[in-house]
């Protein structure tokens, strides 16, 4: 019987038998639909990608103000667009390794100050021009020049000099950085012809698709390129379409009624219910994204470490994961790093909820009992207001006079976050520890939202960055983590999972902690089975 089934499932993957026929014959052999389905899935995996068809994604995070210019990309829908037509020098894989894209290989000097990216030859942009190391250089210049508006400007800052040397693109740094290739995987840094100076939003790149239609805030359509260099691994569907569905119910309804093949951001409240539908699977992946309460360590009363510790102990992390994330997440340890990062030290003790310790530190801080104001908004992160309410209750139980002030979503990121001394925020994480710490915990960082300014910590960041010996690096990172955890202004109660859903016709899906829906690459890496 097994042979017969194997034979049948192979015939389905070859397109000689429809799924329906297969289920019928499998049932005749006494196999349940669920078992038959998984059999089919493994046959599809073994058979490899199926070419053709239309992949439809229903995504939130798109607006009618969106553009295809990579420098201005901040939300998810434009990011999926970039992934269709563009590629970076390297990608980060699901296991945290480098996947060479426009670079063929990468080498560095012993002190990690000079990096040489060998650029692939014979790769064409979708406008027919051949991609050259000069295009790479100009792209990087557009993202790092003085008058750049790029979201990648921050990570380009450590670069002292960039040049082209034959077939190589060479980067020289003021201070060594062993993680530099990971920075080059940033999604803003899509290689564009002539660096994209002439027409930044043209959508011309080296990716597997070209733009068919582009209606911001409504839909974006792409057609596969016949001359794509890596068609074995990417660009399986003939057409790929992205519908902008910002409303959570509209998104799940579209997936349930079969109008799209995959959706991002499933509301944790409905994830369990949605997962019961027979034709689709809810995918939840632990990532590096986290939700935080941030205190300015240089502003009273938060300049007192005992008060900070009191607040840290007063958070009931388990309860928050259970009630705010509905279990789709993990508890945090007041440092922005978790097991999804390379070189994470899992021996750092987990801070536990303790009303006694909270009360003890609060008493020691000598706070005068005036209300401590926490600012929040719905837009800080999904469920932020609920999380604030939970925090207020547990803090009150410890005798801490925490008060919530609700702010409007509009203007929250400009007027409240990084301005007010105690508020809520979120981070999507970074591929490596160095980047996370350099972005938000270095004294000089623009987004140092906790005003954490410790010269000893800064020195450790730079030392770890240039350290090529992994064991030593791990040790330094461990120390840094403990320092932020015990002295910093960060309360990090939870890491949120990426919760997405994919219908069962989609093949080739795997979990990737780098971002939602396979780091936004599911539409170009997955295929349609039937």
């Amino acid at each position: 019987m097994q042979d017969e089934l194997n034979h049948l499932s192979t015939r389905v993957t070859k397109g000689l038998l429809t799924r329906r026929q297969f289920f019928g014959r499998a049932a005749a052999l006494g196999v349940t639909v669920a078992a038959a389905n998984s059999m089919l899935a493994s046959a599809a995996k073994a058979a490899g990608p199926v070419k053709g068809g239309t992949m439809k994604l229903g995504a939130s995070g798109g607006e009618s103000t969106d553009t295809q210019d990579p420098t201005l990309t901040t939300s998810e829908v434009p990011l999926y667009n970039l992934r269709h037509w563009g590629e970076t020098l390297v990608d980060v894989t699901e296991t945290g390794d480098l996947d060479m894209r426009m670079a063929e290989n990468v080498e560095s000097s012993a002190d990690a100050k000079k990096w040489i990216f060998k650029i692939r030859k014979d790769i064409n942009f979708s406008n027919g021009k051949t991609m050259t190391p000069e295009d790479v250089l100009m792209t990087m210049q557009r993202h790092s020049s003085e008058d750049s508006q790029s979201g990648a400007l921050g990570i380009m800052r450590g670069i002292e000099n960039m040049s082209v040397d034959g077939e190589n693109f060479v980067v020289e740094l003021a201070i060594g950085n062993a993680d530099l290739p990971y920075l080059m995987a940033d999604y803003h840094l899509m290689i564009q012809p002539g660096g994209g100076f002439d027409d930044p939003g043209a959508g011309i790149g080296t990716g597997p698709y070209t733009i068919e239609f582009d209606e911001p805030g409504v839909r974006h359509g792409f057609k596969r390129r016949d001359d794509y260099w890596d068609s074995e691994n990417r660009g399986h569907a003939e057409f790929s379409e992205q519908l902008v569905l910002n409303d959570a119910t509209a998104r799940t309804a579209a997936l349930q009624s079969g109008q799209v093949n995959m959706i991002n951001r499933v509301d944790p409240k409905v994830a369990d219910l949605l997962g019961r539908s027979p034709n689709l699977t809810v995918k939840s992946v632990t990532g590096r994204g986290h939700y935080v309460f941030v205190m300015h360590t240089d502003t009273a009363p938060f300049d007192n470490n005992d008060l900070r510790l009191a607040l840290k102990y007063a958070v009931n992390r388990e309860e928050m994961v259970k009630k705010v994330l509905r279990g789709y997440g993990t508890i945090g340890n007041d440092m922005p790093i978790n097991g999804s990062y390379p070189l994470f030290d899992d021996t750092i003790p987990q801070r536990a909820f303790s009303l006694e310790k909270a009360a003890e530190h609060y008493k020691k801080s000598g706070h005068d009992g005036s209300p401590i104001i926490l600012r929040t908004a719905d837009g800080a992160f999904p469920g932020a207001v609920d999380a604030a309410a939970l925090f207020q209750q547990s803090a009150q139980a410890a005798g801490i006079p925490l008060e919530i002030k609700r702010e409007p979503n509009d203007g929250y990121w400009s007027e409240v976050w990084n301005v007010q001394p105690f508020c809520m925020s979120y981070w999507s994480g970074r591929p490596v520890q160095d980047q996370m710490y350099s972005t938000a915990y270095l004294s000089t960082a623009d987004w140092n939202e906790t005003r954490f300014k410790v010269s000893e910590f800064d020195e450790m960041v730079l030392a770890a960055r240039a350290e090529v010996d992994e064991a030593k690096r791990k040790e330094i990172y461990s120390k840094m983590g403990r320092m932020v955890r015990d002295d910093g202004g960060l309360i990090l109660p939870m890491f949120n999972d990426f919760v997405d859903a994919v219908d069962n016709n989609v093949g080739g899906y795997f979990d990737d902690p780098n971002g939602a829906l396979m780091n936004n690459k599911a539409p170009i890496k997955c295929w349609i089975n039937s």
Partner: protein, 318 residues
């Protein structure tokens, strides 16, 4: 007739003044909101350099008055300008959205207006009997439920349970009329349910009011049928208030359906406007605001003219 022309001319002139006033209000309003377009585009990832660069490029360092008059200058020459956020031509993107909005409003109106008036007449015919009560109860119930809720309920039953029509109402130029209608079927149902009660009840009340008159009694004594009395004698005299309510609801169908647009991902003007307001994209907000204002002014103008035409007393003022 001469009087009506004069009235129309007066109203149009007044409407233009109102539009200018609206444009000033919108401009001031969006300037008062916290944050500017550069801050909104860059969001949480804004760095001081990137902000400064973007402000310089978009001309945000100019004073508010200068920006307003340069916008007004362009507008008077028919140039709506380009969106600050993505540099697209506003007239072009707005044109498509406006067409979609009018398309949805047209089909919703085509179904809801005759239906509401017919139900109103029916309610009068069977006043205080069960059809009247049933119509009132059902339409009041649908107007009381928030429109997104009606949308979700219909999506669940119509598209998921029964598998007919589409829960995503994204339409585009390449679609045939049939495909488009299939896509907007559910939102049209929602909008119909939302606007029905208001128009139906006004029709009912206005006609009942007329039904008290002596000439209706005369008609009755002449032995005319009830429906005939209502449609021939009562309705023409009740048309003014009904038209007013119909116009208000038509205006709502054009300018007020953003919630329905979001639920069905319909590419209309409401969503377009909201996106640009949250990004402080003033030229686009101005253009949308003025179109919405013009729709209101225009529909009210029509309502007034119809009232005058329908009422001889207004046609010949003393």
């Amino acid at each position: 007739m001469h009087l009506i022309l004069k009235l129309v001319a007066q109203r149009i002139a007044l409407g233009l003044l109102l539009l200018i006033a609206a444009s000033i209000l919108i401009f001031v309003g969006t300037s008062i909101l916290p944050g500017d377009v550069a801050q909104s585009i860059l969001g949480q990832t804004a760095t001081p350099e990137a902000l400064a660069n973007m402000r310089r490029e978009l001309g945000l360092n100019e004073p508010v008055l200068t920006r307003y008059f340069s916008w007004l200058g362009g507008f008077l020459q028919g140039d709506l300008g380009t969106a600050l956020t993505n540099g697209r031509d506003i007239a072009e993107s707005l044109g498509g959205r406006l067409k979609n909005t009018l398309f949805l409003a047209f089909w919703a109106a085509l179904i809801s207006v005759p239906l509401a008036i017919f139900l109103g007449l029916l309610a009068v015919r069977y006043k205080d009997r069960w059809p009247d009560k049933l119509i009132s109860a059902v339409t009041l119930a649908t107007i009381s439920v928030p429109e997104f809720m009606i949308g979700y309920i219909l999506i669940y039953f119509v598209t998921i349970k029964w598998g007919v029509f589409s829960s995503v109402a994204i339409i585009n130029k390449e679609m045939l009329l049939g495909e488009k209608l299939n896509a907007i079927a559910v939102p049209v149902m929602v909008l119909t349910l939302v606007v029905l009660a208001h128009m139906m009840r006004m029709t009912r009340a206005a006609i009942l009011n007329v039904m008290q008159s002596a000439y209706i009694e005369t008609a009755e004594l002449k032995g005319l049928g009830m429906l005939k009395i209502i449609s021939k004698h009562a309705f023409p005299n009740a048309v003014a208030p009904i038209v007013n309510v119909v116009m208000l609801n038509l205006a709502y169908l054009v300018v007020g359906v953003v919630v329905v647009e979001v639920v069905f991902a319909y590419p209309g003007m409401g969503q377009y406007l909201v996106d640009h307001v949250s990004k402080r994209d003033v030229p686009v907000v101005q253009a949308c605001g003025l179109i919405f204002a013009a729709v209101y002014i225009g529909l009210n103008l029509i309502a007034d003219i119809v009232s005058i035409l329908a009422n001889p007393r207004l046609r010949h003022p003393k």
